[in-house]
Symmetry: C2
Subunit: 351 residues, 2 copies
């Protein structure tokens, strides 16, 4: 079974291939009755345009590459989903590349996608500094939008959550519920999510307590780190732990429970991202919800603009405001009864 081509449709409709192309592409006006004949013939033969041939001729594949650090990071699947939907809604397709959190792999994947003639790239850079060269080089060839994380300044368009204001929301909220001895459990990575959230904590925490900006423990974005970090922050005798993402917060909550520390009674805990998994923990986690759908939509729209001739418009950097989602884990502390309540259940150990 061989493919139906334009030529065959043209023959069936009794006109030239150019006319068929015009009817189907809507490029130029075509006489109404011949247009009908063409559409009918195409329909009848089950004609489907060969996108590869179209791409070669028109220099546009209709595919967008998405390069991300690790699809197994629980924040990314929902972002990928929204990006996929936004692109398919415009008739584009998504080439996905996972670079295993490795800048060298990232560079290789970017090259591979460029070789495939993607119309544009969406990149969630692995590392603020080490991703930079590959991103800059790619941005010189096709429109490139950095998504969710930056990569030096002025490298390319950027669509990301406003991490600073998200962290500010958290700190304001903690102050409002009467918590002052805050500390931070973050990630030491060089990606902008880690960097910006830490910086925002350092900048804002001093308003609650002059010592707070110094009460910082850095690891990675995992709940294993959150567990380990819980032990390390207890000597600070904090009344709140601000975490750089939800996974860390979940780990902290788990470990606090094991240690018999009452959360939120004694220590409040906050996360960042609002990944689906937070539905699992008890107490429910107060966190910062990233506007995932809006990020995807904005990125798709920005790309579409660049692809429609706005290639030389000034670089855009779009920061979307996240939303604080207040749940139980940051409820006002039970100042007096906390210690006592916690001690009714003895600490358990890991098995």
């Amino acid at each position: 079974m061989t493919e139906v081509t334009l030529k065959e449709v043209a023959r069936a409709a009794g006109c030239s291939v150019a006319t068929v192309s015009r009817v189907l592409g809507g490029t130029r006006p075509v006489g109404p009755e011949i247009a009908l004949r063409v559409k009918e013939a195409a329909e009848r033969l089950g004609y489907r345009p060969n996108q590869v041939a179209r791409a070669l001729r028109s220099r546009s594949t209709g595919t967008i590459g998405l390069v991300l650090p690790q699809i197994t990071n629980p924040f990314f699947p929902s972002l990928v989903r929204e990006v996929e939907h936004a692109l398919h809604a415009e008739g584009r397709a998504l080439l996905l590349a996972d670079c295993d959190d490795d800048p060298a792999t990232e560079a290789a994947r970017i090259t591979a996608l460029l070789d495939r003639q993607v119309d544009a790239l969406l990149v969630i850079p692995v590392d603020e500094t080490h991703s930079r060269d590959a991103v800059t080089a790619a941005a010189a060839r096709v429109p490139l939008v950095l998504l969710d994380r930056g990569c030096g300044t002025g490298t390319a368009d950027l669509v990301a959550t406003d991490n600073a204001s998200g962290m500010a929301l958290v700190l304001e909220h903690l102050a409002a519920v009467g918590r002052r001895r805050v500390c931070y459990v973050g990630a030491g990575g060089r990606d902008t999510a880690a960097v910006e959230r830490l910086a925002a904590y350092r900048a804002g925490a001093g308003a609650l307590d002059p010592e707070a900006p110094g009460r910082v423990e850095l690891g990675d974005f995992s709940w294993e780190w959150g567990r380990a970090a819980a032990d390390r922050i207890l000597p600070f005798r904090p009344d709140a732990v601000v975490c750089a993402n939800d996974l860390i917060a979940i780990g902290v909550l788990q470990r606090l429970r094991q240690l018999g520390v009452d959360a939120p009674g004694e220590i409040g805990v906050t996360g960042f991202d609002d990944v689906p998994m937070v539905g699992l923990v008890d107490p429910a986690l107060t966190t910062v919800r990233q506007p995932v759908r809006e990020l995807a939509a904005e990125a798709a729209q920005l790309l579409a603009g660049r692809l429609n001739g706005q290639r030389d418009a000034p670089r855009r950097s779009v920061r979307l405001a996240p939303e604080l989602v207040v749940r139980a884990s940051s409820a006002p502390p039970r100042a007096a009864s906390a210690r006592q309540a916690a001690s009714t259940r003895p600490p358990e150990e890991d098995q």
Copy 2:
């Protein structure tokens, strides 16, 4: 900055385009010193083959489409990751389509990928019956491998976990630790994961207890359902709850804890998949680990075979054995002390 083409490399190397193509593609023998000249020229000019042109001529794009129900289902990201790595290792690229658990969207995505001339398709079907037509039609056009889930018999090649033997492992294990009053919390969906696991439970549970095959509650693959189901299975007075996947098991464990029921002391709980998230729950979850990497590798290899001329070899159906991962949630019951221990902590309610 315009792209470097074969023609320019040929001119720089002082030979014909055909020769350059042969050198770079390794298609035919070429004289050693002219080969060197060509490689040098290509290198110097920074030549990158245009994959679209190559695809049009050679009728092979080097891209594989992956169509899956929902990337946000926590089992899929690791599978996608392995598939991506396996394909990129062979120089292929991955077009990802997410069909939102909807068969109509699935059909549309499959068509979109075929229009893009994917060399082959990997499909994780949404629904055993409703996905069938689209899959069959696509399989007539390109090699198609069903991944992780089937879709009627004889439709296409299949690479999936052996759900039946996974469930059998669970039941044997529960019998070995002395649990007999088992029940099942499953999913009522029409995908093969739900169907096969349920069937295997029904087939095997009778060996533990004649009533067990009838003790079944069906919902969906979510932890919300697991929570709700926990209340529904308590009247069975079970000593073990077999769950169709990890999310359900996590929900069941959570609700049991809320109700003050001791797990595993009183009721053992098992899951299926071994998603990363199981690292979060306490007690640690006994589950069935799907051989994710091997599934991806097998699927990639099967595709590669089909693409290298084995298109008409007999259909293959490959079932990979999963592995039982025994953790705390199915430890032998504490027959006597269970009720008492549990009642020291009063039931909490959802907030």
